[in-house]
Symmetry: C2
Subunit: 358 residues, 2 copies
Amino acid sequence: MSVDVATPEVLIHRARLDANIARMADATASAGIGLRPHVKTHKVLEIARSQLAAGAVGLTVATVGEAEVFVADGATDVLIAYPLWATSEIGRRLQALVERATITVGVDSPEGAANLAQHLGASASRIEAWVEVDSGHHRSGVRPGSVEEDRIADGTGLGLTGVFTFPGHGYLPGQAKDAARQEGEALSSVAARLRAAGHDIRHASGGSSPSVAFSSPDHVTEVRPGVYALGDAQQFELGRCGWDDIALSVATTVVSQRVESRELIANAGSKVLGSDRPAWTTGYGRVLEAQGARVTALSEHHATVRWPDEGRMPALGEQIRLIPNHVCLTMNLLDEVAVVEDDIVVDRWVVAARGRNR
Amino acid sequence: MSVDVATPEVLIHRARLDANIARMADATASAGIGLRPHVKTHKVLEIARSQLAAGAVGLTVATVGEAEVFVADGATDVLIAYPLWATSEIGRRLQALVERATITVGVDSPEGAANLAQHLGASASRIEAWVEVDSGHHRSGVRPGSVEEDRIADGTGLGLTGVFTFPGHGYLPGQAKDAARQEGEALSSVAARLRAAGHDIRHASGGSSPSVAFSSPDHVTEVRPGVYALGDAQQFELGRCGWDDIALSVATTVVSQRVESRELIANAGSKVLGSDRPAWTTGYGRVLEAQGARVTALSEHHATVRWPDEGRMPALGEQIRLIPNHVCLTMNLLDEVAVVEDDIVVDRWVVAARGRNR
C-alpha cells in the first residue's frame, strides 16, 4: 500500500482525526469539563473548526500570531496560554484582537501583568488574565504557597479571572495520573489564594493529552490537550492513544538499505519529523507499516530504520510511513499537508499558523 | 545591549559570518582542496553568493528543491549529496536543472542509479553521478570492500565520475581527526575499486565542519562543510569554532524567572531553536551574553536557562540571545532572518530554501 504523493509528505488520516476529535469531545462532555484544544499542535484552520464544531469551548494558542490566525478565521474565544511580555507592538495587536474575540492571556508575575496593562491601555479592561500555575513541571507559572503567589494576588493592574497550568511532568511513563492530581491541587490552591484577595476566579484550566483522562471536574473547569487530535509515537508509547488512533504519518521512500543488518534509510529526517527524543522513548519514531520497527537515528534528511527480524523488508523505492515522536514539531515544519482517506489524497490543508512564533 | 527586533528573532551577525566564510576559503585554498559548502545549513541566497564569491568550487544541497532554488539564483555547479530515488517528477525536474547547471547526484546502489538513468532518459549522459561512500558514519553509502561496492562498480547506467562521503561520526568530542583519516581511506579505497572497473573517477569529496581541518589533499579533491559559516553551540563545544565566531543567535525576551534557583524562561523554544541535543552536549543551547549559562530544558516556546551563580541575572522583559545546538535546524524554521552589524539590524534575508524537503 502506498499513497500517491511526492515524498517526504505529511499525511493526515482523516477518519482517525475525526474519531480522535469526537472521542475527546465526548469524554470531556461526559466528565462535565470544558475542552479548549491547544491548536499549536496542528496549526490548521480546518482542524480547529472541527474541534469547535464538536463542542470545544474555545481554542488555546501559544503566541499572539497564532491567535490572530484563528480569530481571523472566526474563533471567538482564544486563550494565549503563555506569560506574554508585552511591547508596544504586542499591545497594539492585542488591542485589535479584543475587538473581535474574547482573548485571555497568561500572567505569572505582577511585573508582566503590569507591563501588559500598560501596553493595552484602555483595552486592559477587555482582556481576561489568568494566572499561570506551576503544578510540578517547573517551567513558567507561580508555585502554590510562594512569595510570587502573594505578590500576584496583591494586584497586577489586570483583572484576574482564572488559573491555568500545564502538567508537563505527566509526559513520563506512569506519571500522568499523579500529574493530574498535582494539577488539581495546585490550581485549587492558587485559586483559593486569589479569591481570598478578592479576585473573581471563574476558570481553572488544566490538562495535557497524557493527563487529561485523569483531570477532575472538582478542580478544573476546562482542559487543554493538543496532541490528542493527531497522536504520535510519544502518546502511543505513553499508552495514551492506540496504534490505530495515530492520525499523522510521514510518507517516505526507501533510498538506501543494509540488508544484512535489516536497516534501511528513508528520505525524511529531522527537517520534516522534528528531532524530539525524550530518553524514555524507544527511538526517534515509529513506522506505520511495522509496529516492531524503530527509527534508530535521524539526520536532517535521513531516517535510519531498523526493521524487525521477521517479515519482508521494504525494497529500495518502496514507500513507508514514519510516525514522529512529537507531532507538534512536525506540523511546524511544512506549509501544507495531504489529507487522506483509505490511502487516497482527498484534500490538501495549509498549515495556516506555521512559523507564527511571535 | 539589545537589538531592536520583536522576539523571538533569528539574528545573523554579519561581520562574524563574513569572517567565517573568508577563513574557511583561505584554509581550504592553502591546503589545495576545493570548497563546496553545504548550503542546507543556511538556505539563504545572499550567504551562498558570498561563499561562491570567496572561491567555492560549487554548492552542496540535500534535495532537488534546494538545487532548484540556488540554480535559479545563478549557481552553476551543484552537488545533490543524497542517494536520490527518482520518480517521473524528480526525473523531469533534474532534466530541467541539467539544462542550466552542472548537476551531480549521489548514488549508493545500482538499483538507485538505474532508476535515475531511466527517469532521466536522454539527460542521463548530462548528469554527473558520484558514489556515496560509508566511511564510518553508517548512514547511507557503500562500504569499502563490500558486495555493494562490487555491484555498483559493475555498472549502473550512469557514468560514475566521483566519490563522496559524510564523516558524520566526527560529530563526537575528540573524533574529528580519526573521522577525517577514515574518510580519506574509504574514499581512496572505493575510488580505486571504481577505477579498476574502468570508471573515470575525478572527484573525491569529503569533509564536515568538525573534520574539515583534518582532510588531506592526498585523499580528497574537495570538502563540503556547512555549519562553519554560522557556527553553533555544538561546534563550539566540539572545539571547532571560537565563542566569538558564532554568527547566529536567537533574540529572546525573559518572560518568567525563578530568582532563588537562578533560572529564567526565554520566549523561544524548539519551534525556533530546533531540539537537537546530542548526549555529549552540555544542554539545549547556550547564551551569547553569558558563557556560563545553559539552556537546561526546551519546550516548544519556552527555553529554561540556568544562569551562572555569579553576576546579575537578566530581569523580566530583558533581551537575551540564545545559541542553538544545531544551526541547520534553526534556519529551517523561520522564513526570514535579521542581519545585524554592531547590534543594529542592517538587512533582512529570506530563507529562500526553507522547507524545500523534496
